[in-house]
């Protein structure tokens, strides 16, 4: 009989980020999760500031807060949030199609060396990433010019 009990061996939250030498698509998932959580965090800060300052404290406090957020640190933060939205949105669009079974290709009898549907659709993922980079660069030019 076994004397000791089996030892738990779950990777836990670390398993979301890195569990081994996996390919690109797994990290697209990780980045989607990170940008999602970042955007949620920003959302709650934004809602709180806007609702309390605008609705409750009124114009004077509002102007002060807006001026406070003009500092370049916050501008960089705003750009990061914008970039996170661009990635999350475009990857999300890809996920909408692929999780409904479109843009994935048909089941094929497996013949070695195997190429699963995600690897066969690697060009789509790369195209999406390229589009993200282009959009992020375009927005960066606007922010760098001193934006509003």
């Amino acid at each position: 009989m076994r004397a000791g009990s089996p030892r738990e061996n779950y990777l836990g939250v670390r398993g979301w980020v890195w569990a081994g030498r996996y390919d690109l698509e797994r990290y697209l998932y990780t980045l989607h999760r990170i940008t999602g959580l970042g955007l949620v965090l920003y959302l709650f800060m934004h809602l709180t500031v806007m609702a309390i300052v605008r609705g409750i404290l009124g114009e004077g406090a509002y102007e002060d807060v807006i001026d406070f957020f003009e500092h370049s640190v916050f501008k960089v933060g705003e750009y990061v949030v914008f970039a996170a939205f661009i990635y999350h949105g475009l990857n999300g669009l890809r996920l909408i199609f692929q999780e409904l079974g479109f843009l994935l290709g048909k089941p094929k009898p497996p013949i070695y060396p195997f190429r699963d549907s995600l690897r066969r659709r690697r060009p789509l993922a790369l195209g999406m990433m390229g589009f993200v980079v282009v959009m992020a660069a375009f927005v960066l030019t606007d922010f760098a010019k001193g934006g509003p």
């Binding site: 609705g55 949105g89 909408i96």
Partner: protein
């Protein structure tokens, strides 16, 4: 059955948010594009432009529906992540309840300010 609809709504709100948030971002940050479309807004973060927007029914509707979409999408995603790390069973109901509470609270908070300005 319900879970399928909740998930589908996540996709629907996601696609709508891409449009709504793009409009919001363009308005807030990218004056060049607004200018390209022939419109012109004074510095959108000024109090005066904000009041201007809050009093136009169009913008008010836009912001309130935008808030609803974003809160649903964000909280459904957050709920999924929290359910993955909490043990199952009773905690699932507790988590869902808390998410609902946060959502309704945030919606009320977010709607109060523009409605208050609109009816002032």
């Amino acid at each position: 059955m319900r879970d399928t609809y909740l998930w589908l709504l996540q996709l629907v709100t996601g696609s709508l948010i891409i449009v709504f948030l793009a409009v919001h971002m363009v308005m807030m940050h990218l004056d060049n594009i607004v200018g390209f479309f022939g419109g012109h807004i004074d510095e959108p973060s000024f109090w005066s432009s904000m009041i201007d927007r809050a009093t136009k029914g169009w913008w008010l509707t836009f912001y309130i529906s935008f808030l609803a979409l974003v809160l649903y999408h964000a909280l459904y995603g957050l709920r999924g992540i929290v359910l993955e790390v909490t043990p199952s069973g009773r905690t699932e109901r507790v988590v869902t309840g808390m998410i609902w509470a946060v959502g309704l609270g945030a919606f009320a908070l977010g709607v109060y300010a523009p409605v208050h300005l609109f009816t002032r």
